[in-house]
């Protein structure tokens, strides 16, 4: 009996014990999603890797809050915070900080308390009208399409590391020659709380089209591309990759625009470019393919006789930027990765010659849009306009005191703005809310 009992137990033990599965790892209750740049919405901080102030040029930081918010603008240089400027905004005001440091190019960090907000930088002066949004969040890799290093032009990549840890990044460069290789592009260290300037025109000279993908190996950086033609400069921030982009500001009268796409994946991305102008009519579309990895440049010249916007969609993630040139001027911007019913637009009004707000309705229904200009003093002015389906509208902002615009609509749309001065031009984006 004892023997049988024992043998039965041995058999049972083998069967049961072998059948018991291992307990699985704890099941995540919820994913914690990280905010994405560049169009992921307002953030509690903004990184501004570039501004330029000296005796001939001035810069202005325009700050808008989603609601009542305090902000601290810190300039980091040499591993420490050199200056700190604090202020507040509310729903009816936009702050402007002009010429905070006349030391040439500098990098800054804006931290919001209370509500999140948006920050834009505009620099103007001799041979310069440039600016764009400050980055609110940090993607895994940064796309900076649209550069060139042809003779007489300078292209620099500013890598801003406002954080406490040193960062190390690899640069993937794509040009008309294909993928550019070189030890100088690998393992670039960006010390904590410093900005590293990479002179692409020296590393990769005489490239007609040069796009960069910044891939952090350790730590994080916020990059910005600065293209200087001698008579004008264009500045555009890095962005993450997206399956679709809208550019409310893709072209303007007198400018030849190119849409440049980058693909860091190993498989190609097929894309479709749709163009929208104020007529609302059907304009020819373009299809193409971005090799993986690689870049593609699409000329937008001659698509419309007026200002226009574009929408580009692909079958995979890619980065995109529009670069526009005139005889002397150059402007560039990244697009909006998402549509929204509300937008914060920092910056228009800063340019003394006036700015144009560009609203793109790529949908099939007409939208009613309300825009309210904001000044540091709290003077506001609200207008309501309608935007037909598949069209853009341009609104002139002439008041030089306007530091920002708050836009709301009854349907999804995208917003950008542009400015021009004799021989110079600039494009800029906006931050979605709601």
């Amino acid at each position: 009996m004892t023997r049988i009992l024992g043998l039965v137990l041995v058999a049972l033990a083998v069967v049961v014990v072998a059948a018991l599965p291992a307990p699985g790892p704890p099941v995540p209750i919820a994913e914690i999603s990280r905010s994405e740049a560049p169009t992921g919405g307002v953030s509690h901080f903004a990184h501004c890797p570039w501004s330029r102030s000296d005796s001939l040029r001035s810069s202005a930081y325009s700050v808008l809050g989603e609601g009542p918010a305090g902000f601290d603008l810190s300039f980091l240089e040499g591993g420490s915070v050199e200056d700190r400027i604090s202020g507040r905004t509310d729903s009816n005001t936009a702050a402007r900080v002009e010429n905070p440091r006349q030391v040439g190019a500098s990098s800054a960090l804006v931290e919001f308390s209370g509500n999140g907000g948006a920050v834009g930088v505009v620099a103007a002066g001799e041979g310069l009208l440039a600016g764009d949004l400050c980055s609110g969040t940090i993607p895994d890799s940064w796309h900076l399409p649209g550069g060139s290093t042809i003779e007489g032009e300078s292209l620099v990549l500013r890598l801003f590391n406002p954080f406490t840890a040193d960062a190390r990044v690899d640069l993937w460069a794509f040009s008309e020659l294909g993928i550019e290789a070189g030890e100088a592009l690998e393992g670039l260290t960006v010390p904590a709380r410093r900005t590293r300037v990479v002179a692409l025109d020296e590393l990769l000279p005489r490239r007609e089209s040069l796009s960069i993908v910044v891939r952090p190996v350790m730590g994080s950086v916020i990059p910005v591309m600065v293209l200087d033609t001698g008579a004008d400069s264009a500045v555009w921030p890095g962005s993450g990759a997206g399956d679709g982009w809208e550019f409310p500001v893709a072209g303007a009268v007198g400018l030849r625009s190119d849409l440049v796409l980058t693909n860091e994946a190993s498989i190609p991305v097929n894309f479709l470019v749709e163009v929208f102008d104020e007529s609302g009519g059907l304009l020819p579309t373009q299809e193409g393919r971005v090799e993986g990895p690689g870049q593609a440049r699409v000329s937008l010249e001659g698509l419309s006789s007026s200002g226009f916007g574009v929408r580009v969609t692909g079958d995979g993630p890619f980065g995109a930027a529009v670069v526009a040139r005139s005889e002397t001027g150059v402007a560039a911007t990244v697009g909006a990765r998402t549509t929204a019913t509300g937008w914060l637009v920092p910056g228009p009004g800063v340019v003394s010659s006036g700015s144009r707000l560009r609203l793109l309705n790529a949908g099939v229904t007409e939208l009613t849009v309300s825009y309210r200009t904001l000044t540091p003093q709290g003077r506001t002015r609200t207008n309501v306009i309608g935007i037909p389906a598949n069209s853009v509208r341009t609104v002139h902002i002439a008041d030089p005191e306007v530091a920002g615009v708050r836009v709301t609509s009854d349907g999804p749309m995208t917003v950008g703005w542009l400015a021009a001065a004799p021989g110079r031009a600039m494009f800029s984006g906006a931050i979605p809310i709601g």
């Binding site: 004892t2 023997r3 009992l5 024992g6 137990l9 033990a13 307990p23 994913e31 954080f163 840890a165």
Partner: protein, 928 residues
């Protein structure tokens, strides 16, 4: 023709009766009377005249030898010294005189037989060790079969009957009446030998005396007497090394006997030396009277001495008996055997000790690694016990919840052992040794061979269940191995005959169960389970009763931890283990268990079946994580599996021997297969041998010492740890996305291994960390400072570590890594666990806070609880705020938990006391 020479005159002998206080000397006097060799006279050496007879019939009485000699008319040649308890055969003196004359001996002793059992030997003289400890060479109660009937030179004679040359006795300065019985004889022999006299024993002379018991040589008076003799007879050079050695031997001996219940050991040891200090002047006087004490005379003494210490040999023999033969069935001999090192018990002991040393040598040499739950003990054992007894839980952000019983147990043992660093190592090595010894004792009681016992002991502490626990760094699991086998051995012990015996047995089973349950609480059911199985297998109900009693008696040790948690929580909480043995372990184990169960007979069959059942149930529970079993349950399952595995191996090893000689191949082949498989399983126990730290992983948390070195003047603040679960110390919490994390107080120690249930502060911390991962914050340092977190340490890849690559107020400490792909960040924002309104930091003196006496209040970054004080308590968000006037902030405590903890301690002390009382009574029952 020559005239024949006249016959030499017959030696004249004076009989001296050495009277001892209270002894009746009538018998010894009566035995002198009929001696065939007539004595000249009889003198009693005593302080006063014995009053057993009328005045006229009383013998002559003298206080000293010189007085006695003065009482005799004419010279005498020999003194026949008889102890007052001695009676002599009529020819005893004649044999003594004959031997003395023929062999020219100075001191001749008689063979001493037991008065009550005349066929039993008490003494035939013998050698001593260098400390004078006598070595009779006799087994207890050894029958006189004339096996020692040869005249021999000896170093020591019992003074029951000694014939001493009169001139020698006078030359030595007389007798030393300060000495007790055995030392009295030793003194005469040693002093005679020193002056070149021959000391022999003649078995032809037989006397009778009463047995004095095995403990007599170890009484403090005898120890003191031997020391006095050494001082009188050894040269200074010999004393220079012999006295320190004697000091250490005495110390080691009473340390050994202390746990056995001999509580007077230290006192006796002190009395021995104090007595000699008191009598030092007379000792020195006697030494000056001695004719010679030189290196040559020492060499003469050494000729008849054994090497080493006989007391230490007896200790070794007892240990051997404990491991190899058990303490209850085979009483250790009261005297060491001549070839003790050849005894199987001693060999088993040596192998067992060697096994333990091999398995734990790195722990002994370098201390424990810090990994998993293997954490340094707290700086203050007393404060930990305060926290344990209804105080503040030291893990995470704290809680009034009771701590794990192992925290209280380790703190109590640390308090006893004293040394913080060494205590953990001693505990571990002691647990392993106790586990081996306990399993050996269990298997012995189950009637199996010595080989099976030792292999079972090795498999129990180093088989795959134990190694699995060790590999996971689950230190309490290793410590729990110490008690369970003793508890099971108590379950299968034969039933005592008396109530006192039952009390002691149940106390020991309860105590052993409590020892294991304190470390692995659910192991408390193992004796019950074992009792049930053994009751079925053996067909007796008593084991079940004893097992159940052991489990019930140990239950209080789980208080207050158990009352602070529900049973379901105990069963299901914690991350479960899931042991997954390799095929090369599982297959031999299955073969051993199945084959032994199928073909073995007798004891091996019973043991194998019991092992199969216990092991199967244990292994099933150990792998029941997917069924809801938690860490405590699966650990207890592994302990049961370890015990079952050891029993299976023991049964399988003895399977062939159980079959007898006339057995078919069909039966013998599986039996030998079982044995071979068991040997293979036994060999797997050597896997842990190369590293020598019981299978514990490498040190992982040593790098956390940075917290101490970088601490501010107020002490180390908190560290937020994040990384893969296996890289974190003790328990951890998990964020909603599955990211593991935990807090530690700057100096990582064992009381922090366990985390209490999450409270308000923990919820806020979790919310903060989720916000950080979401990338919503650039200044994590500012947020974490509220929790007193000065450092974030990533022990491996973690989303929390990723976000720290992009933030503004936590500085990476370059070059400091606490794990692969990890890093450490230091908060730039001032962080304090406790800070006053004015920003003055207080120190954490676990479990309290202390600092400068100031006005206003102090914020205590522990989970809010109204019992913090002293003074008016306020809730500050999730934390506490109390007045800073007292300069100290303490947790008032939970009265019910405090009472329960004290009750648990009292029960353990009671159980220990009952076991000790029983042991002492047993010792006391031996003849004295």
């Amino acid at each position: 023709m020559t005239q024949p020479s006249p016959p030499s005159p017959k030696p004249r002998v004076l009989a001296l009766v050495v009277a001892r206080r209270g002894d009746d000397i009538a018998d010894v006097l009566a035995s002198i009377e009929p001696q065939v060799y007539e004595v000249e006279d009889v003198v009693v050496i005593a302080d006063r005249s014995p009053d057993f007879a009328p005045e006229a019939d009383r013998p002559k009485t003298a206080r000293r030898l010189s007085e006695a000699l003065d009482m005799v008319e004419g010279p005498v040649d020999y003194l026949w010294m008889l102890d007052s308890r001695t009676t002599a055969r009529p020819d005893a003196l004649a044999a003594l005189v004959d031997a003395a004359e023929s062999l020219e001996a100075s001191v001749v002793g008689s063979k001493v037989l037991d008065t009550d059992h005349p066929d039993r030997l008490l003494s035939v003289g013998g050698p001593t060790d260098v400390f004078g400890f006598p070595y009779t060479g006799l087994e207890r109660g050894e029958i006189d079969q004339e096996q020692f009937d040869v005249i021999r030179d000896v170093a020591f004679l019992e003074p029951a009957s000694l014939l001493v040359r009169r001139d020698l006795a006078e030359g030595l300065g007389g007798l030393d009446h300060t000495l007790p019985y055995l030392s009295f004889g030793l003194d005469i022999c040693q002093r005679a030998r020193v002056v070149g006299g021959r000391v022999i024993v003649t078995p032809g002379s037989e006397v009778f005396s009463r047995a004095s018991g095995a403990q007599r040589p170890t009484t403090w008076r005898e120890q003191a007497g031997r020391l006095r003799t050494m001082l009188k007879t050894y040269s200074l050079v010999t004393l220079l090394w012999a006295l320190p050695a004697l000091f250490l031997v005495g110390l080691a001996t009473w340390l050994y006997r202390l746990p056995k219940g001999s509580l007077t050991g230290p006192v006796d040891w002190i009395r021995t030396w104090a007595w000699n200090l008191l009598y030092l002047p007379s000792t020195l006087q006697a030494r000056r009277r001695a004719p010679t004490t030189s290196m040559e005379s020492d060499a003469e003494l050494f000729r008849f001495q054994v090497r080493g210490s006989l007391e230490l040999r007896e200790v070794a023999a007892e240990l051997g008996a404990l491991l190899g033969a058990g303490a209850e069935y085979e009483e250790p001999d009261d005297r060491a055997s001549p070839a003790f090192w050849q005894r199987p018990d001693v060999i088993t002991t040596v192998l067992g000790v060697a096994l333990v040393l091999v398995l734990t040598r790195s722990i002994l040499a370098e201390g424990l690694p810090a990994t998993g739950y293997v954490l340094p003990l707290a700086e203050s054992a007393w404060n930990t016990m305060r926290a344990y007894a209804g105080g503040w839980h030291l893990g995470g952000l704290g809680s009034p919840e009771p701590m794990h019983p192992s925290v209280g147990a380790t703190a109590a043992l640390q308090l006893l052992l004293g040394n913080r660093a060494g205590a953990a190592g001693i505990l571990t090595v002691g647990a392993v040794a106790s586990g081996v010894a306990g399993m050996v004792a269990l298997v012995r009681r189950l009637g199996l061979s010595r080989g099976a016992r030792l292999v079972a002991g090795a498999v129990f502490v180093a088989g795959f269940p134990a190694l699995w626990l060790a590999g996971e760094g689950y230190w309490p699991g290793i410590l729990a191995l110490s008690g369970i086998p003793w508890s099971l051995a108590g379950v299968v012990a034969p039933d005592p005959e008396t109530g006192r015996g039952w009390t002691g047995r149940l106390a020991r089973v309860g105590l052993a169960t409590a020892v294991s349950a304190a470390f692995v609480p659910l192991s408390i059911v193992i004796p019950l389970l074992f009792g049930l199985v053994w009751a079925v297998v053996a067909g007796r109900s008593r084991p079940l009763v004893v097992g159940a009693a052991g489990s019930v008696l140990a239950l209080p040790v789980l208080l207050p931890w158990l009352s602070g948690r529900g049973v379901s929580e105990v069963l299901g909480s914690g991350v479960p283990f899931h042991p997954d043995p390799s095929w090369w372990v599982a297959v031999p184990l299955l073969v051993a268990g199945a084959a032994a169960t199928a073909v073995a007979r007798g004891h091996p069959l019973s043991v194998a079946v019991t092992g199969v059942v216990i092991g199967s149930v244990g292994f099933l529970v150990a792998r029941a994580g997917s069924l809801g079993a938690g860490q405590e349950a699966t650990t207890a399952g592994l302990i049961a599996a370890a015990a079952g595995l050891a029993l299976v191996v023991a049964g399988a090893l003895d399977a062939p021997a159980s079959l007898g000689v006339d057995v078919s191949l069909l039966r013998s082949v599986p039996a030998y297969a079982a044995m071979v498989a068991a040997i293979l399983v036994g060999l797997t126990a050597l896997i842990a041998a190369p590293a020598g730290r019981m299978g514990l992983p490498d040190d992982r948390f040593g790098a956390f010492a940075f917290a101490s070195s970088r601490a501010g003047s107020h002490g180390a603040d908190r560290v937020l740890l994040t990384g893969p679960p296996e890289t974190l110390p003790g328990e951890h919490r998990v964020l909603p996305d599955g990211t593991p994390y935990r807090l530690i107080g700057g100096n990582l120690d064992y009381p922090q291994a366990w985390l209490p249930e999450a409270r308000l502060g923990d919820a806020v911390l979790e919310e903060t960390l989720v916000g950080l991962i979401a990338g919503q914050e650039l200044r994590p340092g500012e947020l974490l400072a509220r929790f007193g977190i000065r450092w974030v340490a990533a022990t491996g890849p973690s989303p929390l570590a990723d976000v720290l690559d992009a933030q503004l107020d936590m500085r990476p400490l370059a070059g400091l890594f606490v794990g692969e792909s990890g890093g450490v960040w230091e908060n730039d924002v001032p962080t304090y666990r406790a800070v006053t309104d004015g920003g003055v930091a207080w120190s954490w003196v676990a479990p309290d806070y202390a600092g400068e006496q100031l006005g206003g209040s102090v914020r205590i970054a522990e989970n809010a609880d109204h019992r913090w004080g002293p003074g008016a308590w306020e809730q500050d968000g999730w934390a506490n705020r109390v007045p800073a006037e007292a300069g100290v902030a303490t947790f008032g405590g939970v009265d019910s938990f405090r009472f329960q903890a004290r009750a648990a301690g009292a029960v353990v002390i009671l159980l220990a006391g009952l076991s000790l009382v029983r042991a002492r009574r047993e010792a006391g029952e031996q003849p004295v």
